[in-house]
Amino acid sequence: MKKIISNLLICIMALSLLVGCGSGGTTSGEPAEVEDLVLYTTIQSEMTTFNMLYSQAEAVSMVLVNCIDGLVTNDSYGNLIPNLAESWESDDGGKTWTFHLRDDATWVNQQGEVQANVIAEDWLWGLEWILNYWKNEGNNTTMPMSTIDGATEYYEYTKELGQEAAKATDLSVFLEMVGIEAPDEHTLVYHCIAETPYFPTLGTYSCLYPVSGELLAQLGTDGYTAVTPETLWYSGPYIITTYVNNNEKVLTQNPEWWNTEDERFNSVTWKILESHDVAYQMYQTGELSRVQLTESNLQVITTSESNEFHDYTVVEYTNQIPYNFFWNWAKNNEDGTPDTNWNTAVANEAFRLSWYYGIDFTDYLSRYNSVDPLSCEAITLSSDNLVTLSDGTDYTSLVRENLGIDYNGETYARYDADKAAQYKQQAMEELSAQGVTFPVEAVFYVQSANQTELDNANVLKALISEYLGDDYVTLTIKTYISSQAEEVRSPSLNSFQKTGWTADYGDPKAYLENMDSTSDSARFLYLYGHFADVTDETLLATAGEVAELIHTAHAITDDLDARYTAFAEAEAALLNHCLCLPVYMNSVYQLTQINDYSRPHAGYGMQENRLVNIETNANGYTAEEWAQLAEEYEANRVHE
């Protein structure tokens, strides 16, 4: 019996070796273009709706942005370029925006048959749907309500109407109340509450997307809520011809697409896969065009020079989302009483700055990028590529200049042991006088089922112990079961929360308004930080100063360079007071046949997933080729 089992094991090992020696996905020879793109998402990212107006999820927008065209889009350098709007202008300094729509765009059904022309009224129906409390359940309302005249009033009006009446509304009251009009079929006018220089960039986001009034009439409100690829109308480059939930979506070319110049793939397939490991296996057999590498796969590839993909690992060029720790200014103990020790400590600026300068987060960054951890070092609250000045300077560069941090990519830029020691000593003195006992306990929550996040948190705990000292601060890691909002945030049990954020539109206000202590919509301060309960005069004054700088910047609407410069000063002030703590940016290693540098890029909106004019190499890109592409990309950078 033992002999049989050992023979069997030998057979299995031999088979594994045979398989291990199998042919790889790369071939030599002239690079060929990929005509049928095959992408994937993991099972957690399956689409839950085909109603673009309803969802803010990337899983939804990354498919539908290829099926429905918006007013504007982005080029590969983040410049705003025409899409269904051929041009746009404002004659009153940004309060009224007029978009001139092209006249050859059509809506088609899943069979590619023309159903209607795309007309300005479709944007009226789109915005009515968004602002109708009972139709869209409040999704995607933040931006239109804060910018478009009468939007908030209409939202409240529909809320009062009740479910049935609101679902049956047409455009009559909407047009009376909301600052939007369609003087003719190809002209669309938005009236903003105030001068809004960035308003056209909102056109890249789903909140200003159109829906055909005829389709709504055909499907009804509930029908459009549950719209499927079979019932959806398309105006973009592709049509969803095959959709099997939790399996795959196949997009093929829209035969009636107005744009005959842009290049498209013959087909784009999104497979839903169990994990990135399965995806790696499929990339090896040539079944995928791109794979995101897990830490273990990356290690296997990079540590073995004989690995077929050793020269092919490249870092994805994408909008890097900065993740920050947002303080909880009014933490409670588990019994519901205020955690005075923590609240007093975090209100002390020296205490916060001892964290800011005192922790070298490199080991923490290694959890996200083990090969080049410092490439995901976050310095700012805002993301790169958000906006640029007229001379091409990225906005975040201005913030870094204002911060005076020597960002060299070789050492953790913010770490300054001397400053940290000074601030720690100052904090201990000041806080002791206020009755704070040491060590101060900080509580950080992770989801109980998420082992990766738990491991990350343990690294963080070790860093805090190492750099701040157990005599000063201790980190306690706790877990929540399913809902951070209900279990942690609502009872205010955490000391800080880690959050990443992508802007909906192209303006620094998108980030900074969330830290404006005078604004109810400052979610980072009020929702995550319970700032409304703060009583510390010094902290309130500091937050007030920063808010003032934000207001000053926001008031500049006629000179974008001056506006961005002022916002950069406000953001630097915010960080110099450590009202939040930038920690890391996402960074993904991949094997790919797609030239990321040819994709649309912007630090806001959702156009990055638009799959037109994409360069590819069916053999996959080597790291050397990738570096060359990056160099060419930077050399050709043009900002409008």
């Binding site: 019996m1 049989i4 089992i5 069997l8 299995i12 088979l15 594994s16 045979l18 398989v19 199998g22 042919s23 099972i43 839950t48 709706t49 109603n51 309803y54 969802s55 803010q56 409390y133 009972w134 359940e137 409040g138 999704n139 309302t141 933040t142 809320k159 479910q163 509930d222 809520t225 549950a226 719209v227 499927t228 095959t242 099997v244 939930n245 939790n246 399996n247 795959e248 196949v250 497979k271 839903i272 896969l273 169990e274 399965v278 296996q281 499929m282 090896q284 057999t285 079944e287 399913s482 809902s483 951070q484 909002a485 209900e486 979610r523 929702l527």
Partner: protein, 316 residues
């Protein structure tokens, strides 16, 4: 028999009703924030959340909600999905997946039943021979190695050596179904082999087999007319359940090969708090389980006339 059937049917309906009611009430004990996405939780005011919950009837007392649910069931209305496929009727969400799981499950069941029983017979017939040893080693291997590992090995072998598609695709439904079906059959074949061998070996050691041998019956006649028939009775009881439960799919195999079946649906709908789907699935699963057991009992009486469903003493 009819009386028994009616009695079992009523008992089954009552059981399903109790199970569904318990699950329904348990779901209503969850925090109400399950109804909202994280974005909605952040954005909506408490008043707006309450309005939304009230409109959905979730602020009524649980018994009122339960009675409303029963009324919906009488109209065959399972509600709509809220998180898996927003706004789509639950019946549609489930129906699209049942057919696929049923297809994969029944094909793998037929394959594993055929292979398992045949190899099990051969193992029993040639006990301690080479077939028996190889079969036992296979059974041990399949049961000892985690499914994820054996699936991975099969995936690598199938895709890189045989050139089969790694994932199921409806655009290549036959070739792409080979690996998932093979994986599904992998484990159950071992199960049928194990139990067929075990029951047949048990039967072979009984006195009536010795008598049959003394009376001069051929080995073939003994094996198929007597041993297999008696050994198959305990297996037969589980066949209807096995067949019916193919509808529920396989969580691991379907997820591993992206088969859009029922397997991952329950786990997904629980993790995403899609309560309408959870309730419907629990009802379906409970119903299938109960019907399967009942049909198994009936099948046993057909195969083995000694078993009666009604007579006291012999009744099971």
């Amino acid at each position: 028999m009819i009386k028994y059937t009616i009695k079992r049917l009523l008992q089954s309906l009552l059981t399903i009703l109790i199970v569904v009611s318990i699950v329904f009430l348990l779901m209503r004990m969850l925090p109400t924030d399950y109804y909202f996405t994280p974005e909605e939780l952040d954005r909506l005011s408490e008043q707006e959340k309450n309005d939304r919950l009230a409109a959905a009837g979730l602020l009524d007392d649980p018994i009122t909600q339960l009675l409303r649910f029963y009324q919906q069931l009488l109209r065959f209305d399972l509600g709509t999905s809220r998180r898996i496929q927003t706004g789509v009727p639950v019946a549609e969400v489930i129906a699209s997946k049942v057919a696929i799981s049923l297809k994969f499950g029944s094909i793998s069941l037929v394959i594993s039943l055929f292979l398992g029983v045949v190899i099990g017979i051969l193992q029993a017939r040639y006990k301690d021979g080479i077939v028996d040893h190889v079969g036992t080693a296979y059974t041990v291997f399949v049961n000892a190695v985690p499914h994820l590992i054996s699936y991975s090995l099969l995936l690598i072998f199938g895709s890189r050596v045989l050139g089969l598609p790694s994932m199921y695709s409806i655009r290549d439904p036959i070739r792409s179904a080979i690996l998932p079906i093979a994986c599904l059959a992998l484990g159950s074949t071992a199960g049928y082999m194990l139990w067929t061998r075990r029951y047949m070996v048990d039967e072979l050691n009984k006195d009536y087999i010795k008598l049959a041998k003394i009376k001069g019956l051929s080995t073939r006649e003994i094996m198929f007319r007597h041993v297999l028939k008696n050994a198959f009775v305990p297996l037969a009881q589980y066949l209807p359940s096995s067949f019916l439960l193919t509808i529920t799919g396989s969580l691991l195999a379907e997820r591993f090969f992206s088969v859009p079946g029922m397997g991952p649906l329950l786990a997904d709908s629980i993790s995403r708090y899609d309560t309408n789907i959870v309730q419907a699935l629990v009802m379906i699963y409970a119903g299938l389980g109960i019907i399967g057991v009942f049909l198994g009992d009936v099948l046993m009486t057909i195969i083995d006339p000694r078993i009666s469903l009604t007579e006291k003493g012999d009744a099971r």
